[in-house]
Structures are given as C-alpha cells and as structure tokens.
Amino acid sequence: MLFDRPRAVNVDLQTDATLQVDISDALSERDKVKFTVHTKSTLPNFKQNEFSVVRQHEEFIWLHDSFVENEEYAGYIIPPAPPRPDFDASREKLQKLGEGEGSMTKEEFTKMKQELEAEYLAIFKKTVAMHEVFLCRVAAHPVLRKDMNFHVFLEYNQDLSVRGKNKREKMEDFFKNVVKSADGVLVAGVKDVDDFFEHEKTFLLEYHNRVKDASSKSDRMIRSHKSAADDINRIASTLYTLGTQDSTDVCKFFLKVSELFEKTRKIEARVAADEDLKLADLLKYYLRESQAAKDLLYRRGRALVDYENANKALDKARAKNKDVLQAETSQQVCCQKFEKISESAKQELIDFKTRRVAAFRKNLVELAELELKHAKGNLQLLQSCVGVLKGDT
C-alpha cells in the first residue's frame, strides 16, 4: 500500500549517500503491521546496492534492545524505540459502527465509515513514520550505523525470529521501576565535578518531566478538538435533512449552511490532525529521546560509581599489599570505560540539543503556517457564505 508522506518530521537528519534507509511500504494485517524496509547503500558490507526486507514491530524492538544491552554503546544516546502500533481504539470504533449500522441512515453510515477509515489511515501513517525515524536515526549515527545487528536487520531477508525474546517490551512496568531507580542514582549521586554533566543532569530531569506533561496535555486538547469537529459533522448532516424536507426559502438556507459546515468541519479536522503531527508527535518524540538521554547519564553515573569503587578497592589493596595488580587492572578498566563514556556522552548531549532545537523550530514554524493556512481557508468560506446568505434575504 503505497502513499506519500513527509519524511522524518521530528528530526533534522543529514541524509548520507553511503547509507539511506526508509520504509517504502507497509501492510496492515489483522493484528500486525508489516513494514518494508528499503536500503540504498554504497558501503562494501552489503551484498547489493539496493535491497528490501519485510520487518515487524518486534524486530525493531529487538534491534533497539540489542543496542541498549551493548556495553560498547554505553556512551551514546540510543535512538528511542518506536511505540507499538496501536489500532485497538480505531478497530473498536469501526466495529461499533458496524453494529450500529441499522440505527442510522445510509448517508450517515457512509460518512462515519469514511471518517473512521481516515482515522485508521492516519494512525497507520504515524506508526510508519515513527518506525522510519528510528531507522534513520540509527543510519545517521556514525557508530551505530556500522552495527552488525543493524546490517542483519536491513539485509537478512528471512524472519529474525525474535518474537518472544523481547523481554523489555513484555516487562514494561519493570522497566519503569528501573527508570525510577535510575533517576534516584542520578539525583542522589555525588555532585559531578564536571559542570557540564551536572548541568545536563539537572536540566534533563526537569525537562523530561515537563515534556511528559506537555505531551499528555496536548493529546487531551487535540482530542477535544476532534470531538468538536465530529459534532459539526453531525450538525451539517441534520441541517441537510432539514433542508431537503421542502423547497422553501428557509430550506434552501439550511442547505447552504449545511454545505458550509461540511467544509469548515473538514478544515477543523485537518487543524486537529496537523496539531497532532506537528505538536503532539514532536512532544512524544522528545519525551522518548529525553528518556534515552537520561539513560545515557544513568549509564555514565553507574560507570562513575564503578570507577570510584575501583579506586577505593585499589587503595585498600595497596594498604594491605594484597592483589594490587588485579586491583590496578580493574581500576584502569573502569577508568577507561568511564572516560570513554564521558567523552562520547558530551558530544551526544550537545548533538541532542542541536537536534532538539532544529526539530522544534521546524515543527513550530510548520504548525504556525498550517494554522494560518487553515484559518484563512475557514475565513474565506465563512465570508463567502455569509455574503451569499445576506444577499439572498
């Protein structure tokens, strides 16, 4: 099922000719979505220059988790995993509609069906976009793009058989608790000597919570907006019925007003949809990315604790003059690990900020432009209708 959609709206990524990844197609089946992952690459590791495989959501999660579990990548912000495709609400509505078919007119039914199908399609497009963004982020990352699992994911044209192995997704609640205790480590930890990281820690903790709040409030606002647009739709239908009962002046009047409301509510629905894309999705994405950034700080914090403990162990060993060499080696390993993480973490956090500012700028500008476009459209419709109606009386 082909369709065109804007590319990776939430991140401003450099597209690189050496490795380009996108989701060229997607198919929604009963209870799963099949994504066609399409790769174009000049890298020598791949057998061909252009190829496609079919992947499901669990395989994306497997890839994400493999990054998280890889010690080598401890110093990077792991691109957040795409959320699970959720069509439950939409499917439920379509089912309810089917059950209630007898209680409404044919026109009403057709109209509502079209509405719900459009909603389903919108959710579908979103989930594709979110899965695509994840892959693009990986492909754009100088280190992650070289990952073996990533190449397997892109190239291996058989099922990766990872269903059932994704512990993280199954134990989401457990994961949340891990996050909470991670916050605890970050907060209760010794004040960082490094001002940069100290600032980042404070900033990210607060920012993450506020972005979470903004995300849920934006969802609520957009839902109300959609409900209002639905009401206008029903009002338009009833006015139409009133208008077709006769051919008097007042009936013609109702028909014109009904037509107007049909058009304005389409615009209202578009406004809600655009707010969803440009605002709600943006906030949701940065909720996940700021969590990933926090996870990085947590890993660094843990490495620091390990390093400090290794130092203490070394001092003890020297004092007792026992197992000194072992303690020295251990301390060096911890030191290297910590320094490696710190170095890449600093760059990652700076890049995160740059990406975030660019993404917000892009989306806020587009949001404002779309709001203006729709408001002007609405205004013109209203003005011309009022003009016609006033002229008739």
């Binding site: 709040d213 609520r220 409900s227 007042v250 500012v357 917000f360």
Partner: protein
C-alpha cells in the same frame, strides 16, 4: 399580511429586558428584571416606560393569553422553561460562571418571548399584554398560581400532544394534514439538532479548558528549555494557546446563545403550533358531536310522533331548534378556527424563516470573527518561531 406590514412600518415598538437583580434572600429569593418599552403606538400611555417583572409574572402572562386565544386557533408563543436547579443556585447565592450564564440565558429568553408576543398583531391588542408592559405592579395572584405542578398542568393543557388524541378527523382540507406532518418532522429534526449543538458547546468548553492546561504546560516547558530563542518561542506559544483558550470559551458561548437557544425556542414554539392544530380538531369534534346530538333529537321527535305523545312533542321540537342552532354555530366556529390556524401557520413560517436567517447569520459572523482573531495570533507567533536558532 399586507396590512400587518404596513402597521409595522408606521408604528414602532421596542422591548428590552435588562438589569437582572436578585431580590430577597434564601429560598424565597427571586430575580427581578427591568422591562423597558419604547414605542410610538398610541394605545400606550407614554412613549418610554419601564416596569420590573419576575419570571413567574411572565408565566402568568402566558397563562392568561393561552386561556383566551389558544381555543381560537392562535399560536401563542410559550415562555422559557422553569428551571429548578438553575434558580436554586441563584437563590442560594452561588456566584459562579454557571449561575451567571443561567441568568443571562433566561434574561435573553424572556426578551425574545416578549418580543414575539408583541410582534403578534392580535396578541398585541390584548389588554393583558399592555398591562404587563405598563402597570407598575402586576397582581400577585398569578405569582402563587404557578407552583411546579401548576405550571406543568398549564403547559400540558395547552400543548396536548396530538398522539394522545383519539379524534379521527375526516380531513376535507389536505393542507392541514400535510402541514401537521411537516411540523412533526421538523420538530424531530430540531430536537436532534439541539442535542448535537449542545454536544458541540460541551466539547468546545472542554477544548477551552484543555487548551488552557496545555498553555500552562508549554510555559513550564519553555522555562526549562536552555536554548534562549527556543525558550522564548515556547513562552510565546504558551501565550497564543492562552488566547486560544479565551477564544474557544467565547465561541462556546456563541454556539450556545446564538444557535442552541434559537433551536430551543423553536422546539417550544412548534409545541404551540401543534396546540393550535389540536384546537382545530377539538372544534371539529364539537361540531360532529352536535350533529350527532341533532340526529338523536330528530329521532326522538319521530318516535314521539309515532307514539302520539303530544305533550312531549313540543320539548322535542324545542330541542331540535336548539341543536340546529348549535350545529350552525359550531360549524362556523370550525371554519373560523381553521382559517385562523391557517393564517397563523403562514405567519409563523414567515417569522421562523426570518428568525433563523437572522440568528444563523449572526452565528456565522461570530465564527468569522473567531477566525480573524486566530489569524492575528498565529501571524504574531510565526516570526518568533522562525527566530529560533
């Protein structure tokens, strides 16, 4: 019709209802409204005058007008509904948005009610209407007449739904049958529409609240953001959303006052229209009953003639004369009421068309203004967003 319009042009009559004021305390408190009239009609004592009336006074006026005119087939405009909950809040002194809204809604509804009454050329001539507008105090008799149960009974009496009637009429004039069907279909649609508009009002109010919540949240996010330009842009976004909250609130009020109230008025008015059709049916029935009675009396006379009872014969002949007169009278009544109903319905339709057009255009204009405001806010925000670096 022609004459009525000429009368309208020549004479002016403007009514406004203002200054709702709470009188008294506790459960005996009530709202008093200022009813101001400005007119050039000679039947009034002066050109401008004001009286104070309370809600039950309006109900009293309706009761009087309905008693007199409904049985002649007139469509008597109904007053707004009593609302126990709405009034209780006001009595108890709850000075919140919803009770202020309730008072305003009632004030506007009462104003429209009176305007409809005086716009009706026959009702305007009724001395009760003049008295209502002019007299400094209206008798308190009508005040206590309207307890909850009393009010309900009065309304039911005047607007007996046709479905309850078991009169099967031999309709000689198909116009009435068709018209009644139209009225009933329209009633159904208007009720449906009213429910939907109410839903819209609810969702817009909800949207307003949620937009406000979002605005605050964005402001918080902006203050966390450590990039200066983005931080400022986010706080500007918060301001835009704040203004949107206000805009949605105003829009919900417009949805309610311009649109929902219009529908509610006409749902009530259609009730009065059906009442006039019912009335016509009643007069037809009375005529039929009289014809049946006359027939019976004639049979009685025939029986007496055959049985040869001369003393009772005179009585029978008198009865026949009496009922012949009644039949003639009732037939005339039926024709008269039919003509009135017909005229009233045509008048009502004209007024309805004018009302709907006027109100809905007003509503669309408020939607228009909303969009203009929206454009202003986003145009101010756009450069701020572009300035992010």
């Amino acid at each position: 019709m022609q004459l009525e319009e000429e009368v309208e042009d020549k004479f002016e009559l403007n009514i406004s209802i203002t200054n709702p004021e709470k009188v008294g305390d506790g459960m005996n408190a009530y709202m008093a409204y200022k009813v101001s009239t400005q007119t050039t009609l000679p039947m009034f004592r002066s050109k401008t005058f004001t009286v104070r009336r309370r809600f039950s006074d309006f109900l009293g006026l309706y009761e009087k007008l309905s008693d007199k005119h409904t049985l002649n087939g007139y469509i008597v405009p109904p007053p707004p509904e009593k609302s126990i909950m709405g009034m209780t809040k006001v009595k108890v002194g709850k000075e919140d948005n919803s009770s202020a809204e309730f008072v305003e809604r009632r004030r506007a509804a009462l104003e429209r009610y009176l305007q409809r009454v005086v716009f009706h050329p026959s009702l305007l001539q009724d001395p009760d209407v003049r008295e209502f507008l002019e007299r400094d105090d209206v008798s308190s008799a009508c005040v206590c007449a309207l307890s909850g149960a009393g009010f309900l009974k009065m309304i039911n009496r005047a607007t007996d739904s046709l479905s309850k009637m078991t009169i099967k009429m031999n309709e000689s004039d198909v116009w009435f049958e068709e018209k009644l069907q139209e009225v009933e279909a329209e009633d159904q649609q208007l009720r449906k529409l009213h429910i939907m508009v109410d839903s819209l009002v609810g969702h817009r109010k909800e949207l307003s609240v949620n937009t406000g919540g979002f605005a605050k949240s964005v402001a918080m996010l902006g203050s966390s953001e450590d990039n200066t330009a983005l931080s400022r842009a986010l706080s500007q976004l918060a301001e835009v959303e704040d203004k949107m909250e206000q805009l949605h609130q105003e829009q919900a009020a417009s949805d309610s006052f311009c649109f929902a109230e219009l529908l509610a008025d006409y749902i009530r008015l259609l009730g009065s229209v059906r009442a006039s059709f019912d009335q016509r049916m009643k007069t037809w029935q009375r005529w039929q009953d009289a014809q049946n009675m006359l027939q019976k009396k004639r049979e009685t006379e025939a029986k007496l003639l055959w049985a040869n009872k001369p003393d009772k014969l005179q009585q029978a002949k008198d009865d026949i004369t009496e009922w012949e007169a009644k039949v003639t009278q009732y037939e005339r009544d039926f024709d008269r009421v039919s003509a009135t109903v017909r005229k009233e319905v045509l008048r009502f339709e004209k007024e309805k068309a004018r009302d709907f057009k006027k109100q809905i255009i007003k509503y669309l204009e408020s939607l228009l203004q909303s969009q203009q405001q929206l454009i202003k806010y986003w145009e101010a925000f756009l450069p701020e967003a572009k300035a992010i670096a």
